[in-house]
Symmetry: C2
Subunit: 157 residues, 2 copies
């Protein structure tokens, strides 16, 4: 695996702010092992994420799973590399209530470009709430914030 | 299809507030046809949903797709019925920038219990950003907000 010096580690070292999406989901790192390709994070599921039944909406669970598997891979990226998710498949096993949810993910295969990931969300009682698999693709791209530049569009195909 | 008198129509009539998740995603109904099983909604993707590249994080696009397909089905539900998503599969075709995103969904098959849904997210330029399929299951449940009751847990299997 590449030396872990990409934006994930810049963020962990406080050299770059956490992505807004992570912040919105109450993302916190618990542990990460880029050699093993594993990560454990936690999320603060708030009442802002709930459906009419008062449960955390499935889509927000999907967002948390994406933000677990993505960082597991991001921890293996080098400077200037990004790895957009191409495909995400989530199975919802149990309802989740607002509160702390724990995300665990593994890089199943770290290809040079194509990477396969799996993850799960667990509640405070240790029950698996949802599982997911994803495919991501390592690409080189500028961290652009202006819109519509070629380098930004190139981040996906 | 059942007479459209469930929580979706209560919400549309202002008899019950929009779910917090919908509110967080800036959800607005554009048009819905419960007989055809179709819906078109829009979302306000904010900077709060972005990844390190400044794009809307894939997980939030998944949340929007869930909140497009879910309401397409919800519009066909009767009083006391809910239809939790069991399975969600998203393919990310293009990057999305903060701004308005349009969600379109169709109830592909409205079974008595098991329902198959498909949806897509389109940007303001008409480009398809992401597509999804989902499986949901119609169940009868109280709109509980207290935690851990039997009726709440029964919403998923």
């Amino acid at each position: 695996m590449p030396t872990p010096t990409g934006f994930f580690w810049d963020m962990m070292a406080g050299r770059t702010p956490a992505p807004a999406a992570a912040d919105t989901l109450g993302w916190k790192l618990r542990e990460v092992d880029p050699d093993e390709g594993t990560i454990e994070v936690e999320f603060a599921a708030t009442d802002r994420f709930t459906n009419p039944a008062g449960h955390v909406q499935g889509g927000f669970l999907a967002a948390m799973l994406d933000d677990t598997m993505g960082p597991a891979l991001a921890a293996t990226l080098g400077p200037g590399q990004f790895a957009p998710t191409l495909d995400l498949h989530v199975q919802f096993l149990r309802v989740a209530w607002p509160g702390t949810l724990i995300g665990k993910a593994t890089v199943v295969r770290r290809g040079k470009q194509v990477c396969h990931l799996r993850g799960e969300l667990v509640d405070n009682a240790g029950r698996v709430i949802a599982t997911a698999v994803a495919t991501a693709m390592v690409q080189r791209g500028e961290r652009v914030r202006d819109r519509g530049t070629a380098s930004a569009e190139s981040l996906i195909g």
